[in-house]
Symmetry: C2
Subunit: 369 residues, 2 copies
Amino acid sequence: MASQPFTPRWGIMATGGIAQTFVKDLLTNPASRDVHDIAHKLVAVASSSSKASADAFLDKVKAPEGVKTYGSYHELVNDPDVDIVYVATPHSHHFQNTMLALEAGKHVLCEKAFTVTGSQARKLVETAKAKNLFLMEAVWTRYFPLSIKVRELVQSGVIGPVYRVIADNSLGNDGPNGSVTFPDENRMVNPDLAGEAEKEAPKVAAAINKYSTGADETTTVILQFPKHKSQGVAMTSLRIATDVDGHNTSGPAIKIQGPLGEIQVDGPAYRPLQYKVIKKDGGGKVEVVDCPIPVDEARDVGHGMFWEADECARCLRDGKKESATLPLSESIVIMEVMEEALKQGDVHYPDVITTDVYDPKSPLNTGGR
Amino acid sequence: MASQPFTPRWGIMATGGIAQTFVKDLLTNPASRDVHDIAHKLVAVASSSSKASADAFLDKVKAPEGVKTYGSYHELVNDPDVDIVYVATPHSHHFQNTMLALEAGKHVLCEKAFTVTGSQARKLVETAKAKNLFLMEAVWTRYFPLSIKVRELVQSGVIGPVYRVIADNSLGNDGPNGSVTFPDENRMVNPDLAGEAEKEAPKVAAAINKYSTGADETTTVILQFPKHKSQGVAMTSLRIATDVDGHNTSGPAIKIQGPLGEIQVDGPAYRPLQYKVIKKDGGGKVEVVDCPIPVDEARDVGHGMFWEADECARCLRDGKKESATLPLSESIVIMEVMEEALKQGDVHYPDVITTDVYDPKSPLNTGGR
């Protein structure tokens, strides 16, 4: 008889779109993605504004009976039945919200972007280490089987050393009269710089065209790794799309380039489903590999966020405090890069979201903002 | 009876690969590219080192009888039979060599890069204007029928306003033991930023990985035009190639992106032969347009440099002192951008090539260097 799967008990902080998608995936049967060693249990959901919002959330995700609902984040993090908190608030809130959970002794999976500043990221990591708690940034695509295969390919040397990565995560939609229709999913690209490049902190050169609100509209960031002879080019835009016509006609969203060839990942970069390998000596031949995201037929759900949840479960089971696939040191570097890019682009945020002083009564923790 | 075609008399300064290609094209029959209003006459060629080199050059290009040869640039620019000098020296020499020709009262077509610094470019333009002489930077691809069609398409609004141009002119070849095999053709990309964007001087953000010699190895430059909501991303590398396998398998070299669609130019970016139009509402359909370069069957030659020569001839015929397709103000901006990129990349050149003080006895003019 097989042993029982290890099953962490999840508490969900916030009830927006990303939380709904995550929890729908969390409630799928792991067997539908051929996972049998771990499982997931949803025990509580909190809205910052009202218990009613949390109740409505449970309806939306078709949650089973017995899940607790709260109208405050403080109640959620103090629920003794919660092992790990998924922080699904806007990234402006991540530092305060994750600190709230860590201070209450909870493990945390925190949505990307991890924080707003490098200093906030360093403080989160210090706090998790001091309290011996698991902490991970929810860069979900890093746990896709596609991403694992691409990293294995890069490490196998099929394209030689990685000299350049070009990642385009432009999702935008040009609007009337100079405006844009701002999709919720739009974020700064986190380029997966595979292999050795990770060991060298990059130099950053960034250009940000600002929107009328002061937020970034079209951003290009160059990450430079002179020691490794490589560069990363990350692009995002609200005005144009990587995938012009919605049929991936215009080409790949990501290109990983080495002297022996190139690995291309088709878009959208935030949820890739196919990669291609083009070898220098391939004579025009392309290896195309489809990596569909499995669906739990019983729930008709499968978005791909379950894989990062599985990683959290396995780390908790094995007593690991961070994921080897996305070490906390790398989340810190990513935030330092983003902070530098925003600085070079002259983008400013209010003090309440940039402070690295934890305040349990911050409006970001109490729902006042 | 048709009137005689206007026929400028060309003097060629330098005898290297680019000069050979240009002169072979210059010697083709304009009718082979359906041009009948102008023609070209080769009257003299100069090597900086010896008359013998210039004689050998004439053999290589299969020149007709009667072309004069010189062992110095000074003799060439003082030949009264020469109307226009084609400066085909390394770009380190362009400022001194072009000044030499202008001071001698000759019109000039100067190879790209125009100069080494913005100040040198400004001084060349001032001198040409003061002397009422024609001056043009030899950005040959700008005069390709393909480029004309792409500019017309952009201006017709088929992709809406240009929000981003991504140009990859990576030609490189990774060599053994960390070296690269340096192709002569490798230069900084001159991105064709079509339409309105040209009217706004760009902000520049650049990253340059340097080669062991101190020259640039992998360079990425972001040009930012906030007023036009657009950005240009120019990439070049000695280590990796835009065209991985030599079959254009890995996608376009240039993408011109607007909210309504995208125009893609297949590589190599330095000699494009095909473009594609992908419309947002095209439902996955791609318009592919081939633009072959016509060959003069009698000489078996056709590289595409004749079109820029034709432009020079028409400007001279019409009394124009600059080309409307590449105004001198734009050549100045291009050089200012390159200078800023090199500065940000901490790339330095010797004083003898960066000075903006004209010296007819500079070793760059006398063949001493």
